[in-house]
Subunit: 242 residues, 2 copies
Amino acid sequence: MNTMLTLRFDGTHYHGWQPQKEFATVCGTVKAALEKTLGRTVTLHGCGRTDAGVHAEVYAANFRGECSIPHERLPFAINSRLPRDIAVLSAKPVPDDFHAINSCMRKQYTYRVYTSRMRDPLREGRALHWPRPLDIGRMRGAARDFTGTHDFACVRTMGTPVKSTVRTLYAFDIEETGGLVEFTMRANGFLYNMARALAGTLLWVSEGKVADIPALIASGDRAAAGPVLPAHGLYMTGVWYA
Amino acid sequence: MNTMLTLRFDGTHYHGWQPQKEFATVCGTVKAALEKTLGRTVTLHGCGRTDAGVHAEVYAANFRGECSIPHERLPFAINSRLPRDIAVLSAKPVPDDFHAINSCMRKQYTYRVYTSRMRDPLREGRALHWPRPLDIGRMRGAARDFTGTHDFACVRTMGTPVKSTVRTLYAFDIEETGGLVEFTMRANGFLYNMARALAGTLLWVSEGKVADIPALIASGDRAAAGPVLPAHGLYMTGVWYA
């Protein structure tokens, strides 16, 4: 049997998904709760590593082997053993060859920025404080130029070897409501730090520090793009398998 | 000189407004930052005590005496000395006889409840989890019956002696958006625990455990009303002085 879990978490207190010996991680925490619930060891595959401090409205994972608790009851059983900043939203059986990361077709990230002059204690840790107005129109133009299939080397942090830095960005939408600006990016895959660097580059576009996106993409020059924004503004907001 | 400050805070880690020797409070924290900023001792009056764990989108306070820093720069100067869960939004001169609590004409509280079946880590500490649908229509009828000038003894926790338990509830609105239900109450004053007991009584109305609000008010019977809901769903959302 193969079981898919969907999760939601506040990443503030975790060093990302991937298990680490020294630090609390989301995978390590869920795996421990799941193993206690099922009374056996489990290998848990996540849909992406997610960096320290990144949140998830939706995150997917899977594990194989017998599941001694009915799927509809499993989320409640695991949640009772999880801290309040992580929850399992659903559990369902999936085909044997399903793998949370290898089967993934598209992922969506949303970066949140708020633009009030003063920092906002009620948004602390949940959105980036950017105490100046943003030029939404100009940023939308740049976002349009980023969509499509491109070599995204200019918004990639080196470190992890990858076969190719070409990805397809299906959508890059900007919504503004009551001082909160949301950048939502949907792609067939994200390079290391790509979501945070894309959002950072749009802020640079608003500031007039970056203008020509096609030229930026063509250059592949990381130093010519905007900064990798802090993790606490980033949320995984979607993952698709078909 | 008399100066009015408006504040915003996440109350999770504070034992309310009122200074206490053993615990961190919002007043104690702001007072310390203000005294460091001005280089003198200050008496800080708040617009209400607010219980431990209650949040504020807007909270007002005032202090008298010389202000050596221009009012427009004061919030930034204080904020640099405050923890991230409290911020001063504005500072302005007010008449000598202004007093944050005695001059207050109306206050507004909003209680937030979310109704998803699973608990939501991203709403943790910010809204009450009520894992069942709520009957908005029925609750709106009850809220209408609560508005007006009444003896609110039935939703008051005993403890603090008050001259009268009569208050005027100007508005009691219920808004629902995407699984989040907000109860917003505006009154000329709130008795101890009144906002949380009013919200709790509406939940009881939805559950069919309370039906006749005029009879409940007339009885003055605390035991016949709903529960005092947890502090983490409550926000002060407005305060008016004219």
